[in-house]
């Protein structure tokens, strides 16, 4: 059984987790080009080495960040998203002054 350490719940069976994709800088959707947005949505680096990824612990609905080696599948470190994101990211609606929550 492979064990992953959830920052909220502690060590759990890997079957309780779902992969959520690389942690990447999102371009401003209302300012970036269509090409830049398409690259953000559809392309991934698929890099060999330690990558930073979103993971979900499904029983608690808790999203966190993990550093994982893509060659050995070793999970180097896991931590709460607040370590990386100190404030909520709001999205501007194109053509509107209102901020979407």
């Amino acid at each position: 059984m492979k064990i992953m350490h959830c920052p909220l719940n502690g060590p759990r069976n890997i079957s309780e987790f779902v992969y959520g994709g690389d942690v990447r800088q999102m371009p401003q959707p209302d300012e970036c080009t269509d090409k830049a947005w398409a690259e953000y949505v559809f392309y991934a680096d698929n890099r060999a080495g330690v990558v930073t990824e979103w993971w979900l612990h499904t029983p608690s609905g808790y999203w966190f960040i993990a550093e994982r080696h893509t060659v050995t599948d070793d999970i180097v470190r896991t931590y709460d998203a607040s370590d990386m994101f100190q404030q909520r990211i709001d999205f501007m609606v194109a053509g509107s002054d209102k901020e979407e929550q």
């Binding site: 059984m1 719940n9 309780e16 608690s60």
Partner: protein, 190 residues
Amino acid sequence: MASKFEHPVLIELSDSARAGFRGLAAEKHLQRLGINIPDTPNLATYGDELAVLRLSPKEFWLLQHPLAEDSPLDKVQDAALPAQDVYRLFCRDSHAWFWLVGDRAADVMAKVCGVDLRAVVFPPGTIAQTSVARVNAIVVHQTLGNDTCFNLLCDSAAAEYFRRCMLDAMAEFGGQCMEREQLLTIVNQG
């Protein structure tokens, strides 16, 4: 003092009152209503009327004791929410609720759950959000008199499957289902 439950028993409490609150201001809102909040996630406080589950820094569930004579949850439900940063979670609609009671409860759970739920490592007042019989579930350890009592909350759509899995796991220990009224009778026996 001896256990009142020679064999483990399973009681379905899905029709019992419970409610949830989530948001940055949820803790302050509940404290304002006089609710005793656990300090850290995955801990619970419980008494004769209400169990308070802290599932994350900003998510709380309140379970009204199924044998409580009053309805302490009504006061919490009737209170107006702050204008922002708190919203309700309708966990009575989303989740089924069972009690697993008896000295062998941890042994029963060991057959369907990978987390060690023995009292030495999972004492009363702790919570495990994990997989039970392949279903996402919340396990809360509390006591009922001198007996171990696990609150089990799972997706309501999986309630019947979950009940059958628990009965299967309990069979080895002579476990059985019980109605709330039977439980009340046993608990009230001197």
